[in-house]
């Protein structure tokens, strides 16, 4: 393992320390707890709060989207491990200003159970909560088992759109409905070229041969659909596009936003070459692209590879996607 770290066991602590030193003017830790990152200054009272949480190792997911126009709080777990329900509950309590709290997070076993438990604790203290789980990864289960799918990069769009709806003053049920509507129109699939290394494990979580590509791999190295011989950028784009297009009706006149997301070790140049191919496939169908997102949004440490997300829009979703948002890791200004 070659990583620019100090002691592996200090990894998460030191990442948060770095984030607070760099962006402490826009983020704060709840009672100094490095596992609960909150928006600073807090949102206006009466706004529905939106929180997320999950394991570390995916920056900017999850805490990178805490900020104006997006999230109010994030519970931080160890690398690839859920935060505890107690931390989630403390966060929910800290961000609620009476309008209730939307828990918006990826569909993973540990996160589900802990958030469910945190919501029970919140309900006991008369805090209203709603849960919407992100399940955008088409490679993680077939369509008939879509409720089992994992949440990956598409969650960034959900944070953006739900965040804008909450800023606009919608109530908890309405914000949850907007998030769900967005997610019903979001699909993602990824490919991996090399593995990642969890600092405290010290060796790669899996291996991919020099001339191979793993199709549909998850952001923790969950096995994908198949291993293929290495392919060109155009062939990868077309493979992913076909899989997603089979589930979203993309017709002449449809409008979408496209996210090409690097997993950590893939250059922006390569992301743009793949974006170009996806944009051409969409243009050939007469589909218009609105606010493309090309860059690193949901990573898996030093994993090489990328994911493509397609988000089918209508006028309402477009308006929420366009609305201003600014966090230390995301801005709507440059999209």
């Amino acid at each position: 393992m070659r990583k620019l770290i100090n002691k592996p066991e200090d990894f998460v602590e030191e990442v948060i320390e770095g984030i607070m030193m760099a962006y402490g003017d826009r983020l704060r830790l709840h009672n100094g707890d490095s596992r609960i990152v909150l928006r600073n200054p807090p949102a206006r009272p009466g706004k529905v709060a939106i929180v997320t949480g999950g394991g570390s190792g995916h920056l900017p997911v999850f805490l990178g989207y805490v900020g104006r126009g997006m999230l109010d709080g994030c519970a931080v777990g160890n690398v690839f491990a859920s935060p505890s329900s107690q931390k989630m509950f403390e966060m929910i309590k800290a961000v609620d200003s009476g309008a209730g709290v939307l828990c918006l997070y990826g569909n993973y076993g540990g996160d589900n159970l802990n958030f469910d438990m945190a919501c029970e604790m919140a309900e006991f203290e008369d805090i209203k909560t709603k849960t919407v789980r992100v399940r955008d990864d088409v490679a993680s289960s077939p369509p008939e088992m879509a409720e089992k799918r994992r949440g990956v990069a598409g969650m960034v769009y959900a944070f953006k759109v739900a965040g804008a709806a909450a800023e606009e003053g919608l109530n908890l049920d309405q914000v949850a409905a907007v998030a769900q509507k967005a997610l019903d129109n979001i699909r993602t699939m990824g490919v991996a070229l090399s593995p990642c290394v969890v600092p405290q494990v010290g060796k790669p979580t899996f291996s991919i041969k020099e001339n191979e590509i793993e199709i549909g791999m998850g952001i923790h190295g969950e096995p994908g659909i198949e291993v293929r011989e290495m392919m060109t950028a155009d062939a990868v784009a077309s493979l992913i596009f076909d899989k997603i297009a089979a589930e979203l009706e993309l017709n002449e006149g449809s409008e979408v936003s496209v996210m090409v997301n690097g997993l950590g070790a893939t250059p922006l140049e390569e992301l743009l070459i793949v974006y170009r191919a996806v944009a051409k496939l969409l243009a050939a169908r007469g589909v218009k692209v609105f606010m493309p997102h090309v860059g690193e949004f949901a990573t898996s440490m030093e994993m090489a590879g990328l994911s493509v997300t397609i988000f089918k829009l209508d006028e309402e979703l477009k308006r929420y996607l366009r609305a201003p948002a600014s966090t230390p890791f995301y801005t709507s200004e440059n999209k």
Partner: protein, 205 residues
Amino acid sequence: MKASMLRTAAAAIRDIMVANKDYLTALDQQNGDGDLGITMVQGYSALAQMLEQETEQDLGKLFMKCATRFNDAAPSTLGTITSFVLMGMAKALKGKTEASLEDMTAAYEAGLALMMEKAHSKPGEKTILDSLEPAARALRANLDKGAAQALTAAAKAATEGSEATRTMKSVHGRAAYYGEKSLGLLDGGSVAGRLIFEALTHIAG
């Protein structure tokens, strides 16, 4: 039922789990990961210890504290599932400092309902529910006979329910990989459920 009785109950459940730790572990090793005995001892020891010093009289708040403490001490799947039962009971008992047998039965039913919802499980799937759920029905059917008799009936139903897991196939957790091979095996979780009611019978009698 008052707060002080919960302390006696938790201590009795802890003692029976300690006495059966190796048995539970052996059962779990047949088709699980073998941590069942440890989880139950850790969870109920933490509860008993907490309740020795706890002064909270509101049964709802007390059960909520138990749920949180249990999850902290035993964050495995069965530990989390147990916490959900306690949370469901907490919600039903909120604001009460004294609860009748009927209140406790209703709270217990609410706890089981919450657990089934969160764990996406139902009776007949070779889990702890296969002893806990028959016990709930027995309590409900024997409400008019008083706590001692109702708990004896619940313990009997839990024992029969646990035995019946031998005829069931596992569908949850690691045990699910064993599928058909799990037929004939007694489910460790259901035994843990039976032991809870056995302990409660001793203190009620």
